[in-house]
């Protein structure tokens, strides 16, 4: 496949995945979790009970029992149906190699559990209220198989929006040069003022070098911490 076509295809796949995440599903975490983003591999590792820490802090997954958001999350990010995911956990439980994660009935129950449980990470509808928890952005690290994020600058929260308690998620498409610098940034979605702050930060990010120019999409959450 020629390079432009490959970039287009890979970029479209990523945009599709992250758009779904950004608009319909939020990844929520206990405020004590020492991360603002996680990669798709990390997200998968947490929910398959293979990854028990994130940036040095312990994590535990929280699932919903059923529902459309639950089904989409499992299929898109873990490549499993709800029944297969349940069977996977049972395989660990009945062989003594894991415990069944918490499964809850509603978004509100997930938010409440995540808010009070150290290290808890769950997923809820993009429209759900997320008081008392933090929203994690998903960074598709090393999307082309050779990239890793070497320098990450966190965006400055615009003072006025912070004082007014305005939160949001900004989605950006980055073009990464072969040397690893961010060549261009395009805003895909989010509050324009937050997006401006996010762009300023992301333009300073540095990725590992690669032989190709790559397109990545990242989600940057802005949250007012209590």
């Amino acid at each position: 496949m020629k390079l432009p076509i490959r970039l287009l295809v890979s970029g479209c796949m990523l945009v599709a995945a992250v758009n779904m995440l950004g608009s319909d599903i939020k990844i929520v975490a206990n405020p004590g979790v020492r991360a603002t983003t996680l990669s798709l591999t990390e997200l998968r590792g947490v929910f398959l009970l293979q990854r028990r820490t994130l940036n040095g802090s312990s994590v535990e997954p929280v699932l919903q029992k059923s529902g459309a958001v639950h089904d989409v999350f499992l299929q898109e990010f873990l490549n499993r149906s709800s029944e297969e995911m349940h069977a996977y956990y049972q395989g660990l439980v009945f062989t003594g190699k894991g415990s069944m994660p918490e499964e809850l009935d509603s978004y509100a129950a997930v938010i409440a559990y995540v808010a009070r449980t150290k290290g808890a990470i769950g997923y809820v509808s993009g429209k759900a209220q997320t008081n008392g928890v933090k929203t994690l952005g998903v960074v598709p690290q090393r999307f082309d198989g050779s990239r890793s994020l070497l320098v990450r600058i966190e965006p400055e929260y615009p003072k006025e929006l912070h004082q007014r308690g305005i939160e949001g998620m900004v989605r950006l498409t980055l073009t990464i040069s072969p040397k690893g610098s961010v060549q261009s940034v395009r805003v895909v979605g989010g509050n324009p003022i937050l997006a401006e702050a996010a762009v300023k930060a992301v333009e300073q990010w540095v990725y590992s070098p690669s032989s190709t120019t790559d397109i990545l999409e990242v989600s940057i959450p802005f949250e007012v911490r209590p």
Binding site: S39, T41, L48, Q50, Q90, V93, T95, G119, P140
Partner: protein, 407 residues
């Protein structure tokens, strides 16, 4: 155990209908269990130590476990297991696993106690019928009568996961421990046909498993296990019964297992394949060796037609090659020697299966086996002279119906 007690137990579990939890010292203890009951009918040879040619329901197993995540890194748990499969198990419950598990970080943890052995895709979960479409796993690679040989070890595992960015995850397990077979398991049952009555089968084992999983449903891996197993008991002096039994003790001089495997899942389709080779050498009488070399592979596919209905099929290919000390041949016969294409030296099994999930906790399976060969040798693989005193037929068709419940 009387059947009516089992039926009551099953009904009670069906009423419970969900996993139970309770609190001890502010820690949640989870309780989970399973129960399964099967029926097997074969048209010719008796199979799996049951009188299946007349239809047999002597196929029951169950387990009950408790576990608790004591801290974010420390977990404890244990499971009791019991089964009755023809002459195997015979309702003698056992401690299936009992572990303390400390996970230092993502890439290293230690699990100690009686630990389920990671070997291939399904060794540690082979009893967990409710996890899969098939009522019986491919018997060439996972012979249910050899369960005790590989199911668990008393010792310790070092394990971990190494994320390779978006290239997936590499999982490893290193283990060492001690195996101890029930006298109601496959080996003691098998060698009773040669008048050896074992009271103990045990010995050290150690091994490694490495598997890589992509983020898109592909898993490939390899396992290796080494063992040194000793059997102790008596040898019935059938040439001169009045002289009484002779003490018997023998230790394998070589015993290893290799497994290579792959699994791919794409939406409703799942494909598995595994290759297993077992080799062991043992002197049944001083200086008189039997070398057994079994090779097996299978390809299996399952498809979820509907949320509650799945279909599956597999082909299992098992061959046996023995080398027997010439002095032993008059006692044991042409045991697994010669051409692997002979029915006594192989089992080729074509299987079709269907599963219906009655609800989240109960299922029903029906499965047809079309077997060629009976692979009768110094290795438990389903066909025993005790249940087939008039010898074996080359082909066997089997119908397996199984239902189960878990919570």
């Amino acid at each position: 155990m009387p059947r009516w007690i089992l039926a009551l137990l099953w009904l009670w579990l069906a009423q419970v209908g969900t996993a139970q939890e309770f609190q001890v010292a502010n820690r949640t203890v989870q309780v989970h269990g399973f129960f399964s009951q099967g029926f097997v009918y074969t048209d010719r040879n008796n199979w799996l130590t049951m009188n299946t040619s007349q239809g047999s329901g002597a196929m029951t197993d169950m387990g009950l476990n408790m576990s608790s995540q004591v801290t974010d890194k420390f977990r404890v748990g244990a499971q009791l297991y019991d089964r009755n499969l023809g002459q195997l198990g015979q309702w003698h419950p056992s401690l299936d696993w009992a572990v303390v598990d400390y996970r230092f970080n993502n890439w290293i943890g230690i699990r100690a106690g009686k630990v389920k052995t990671t070997l291939g895709l399904y060794n540690d979960s082979q009893d967990l019928d409710f996890l899969r479409v098939f009522a019986l796993l491919p018997q060439g690679v996972y012979p249910t009568d050899l369960r005790d040989a590989t199911i668990a070890h008393t010792g310790a595992d070092i394990y971990g996961n190494i994320a390779i960015q978006n290239l997936g995850d590499l999982a490893y397990t290193l283990y060492t421990g001690h195996r101890s077979d029930s006298i109601y398991s496959g080996y003691p049952t098998l060698i009773r046909q040669w008048h050896v009555f074992l009271d103990e089968v045990h010995g050290p084992q150690y091994g490694i498993d490495l598997r890589w999983s992509s983020s898109r449903g592909l898993t490939v891996g390899a396992s290796r296990m080494n063992q040194e197993i000793t059997g102790k008991g008596t040898f019935g002096n059938f040439l001169n019964p009045a002289a009484g039994a002779i003490p018997f003790r023998s230790t394998t001089s070589a015993y290893w297992t290799n497994l290579f495997y792959g699994e791919y899942q794409f939406r409703r389709l799942r494909i598995d394949m595994e290759y297993r080779r077992d080799y062991f050498q043992i002197a049944y009488l001083p200086g008189l060796d039997v070398q057994t070399d079994t090779r097996a592979w299978y390809v299996a596919g399952t498809y979820k037609l509907h949320k509650q209905v799945s279909l599956g099929s597999y082909y299992s290919h098992y061959t046996l090659r023995n080398r027997i000390a010439p002095e032993l041949r008059p006692l044991v016969g042409p045991l697994g020697e010669g051409d692997a294409s002979l029915p006594q030296n192989h089992i080729y099994d074509k299987v079709i299966a269907g599963r219906v999930d009655l609800n989240r906790f109960c299922h029903l399976k029906i499965e047809g086996h079309f077997m060629n060969g009976y692979g009768w040798g110094a290795y438990p693989n389903g066909f025993y002279l005790q249940q087939n005193p008039n010898g074996f037929q080359p082909n066997t068709k089997a119908l397996v119906v199984k239902t189960g419940f878990h919570f």
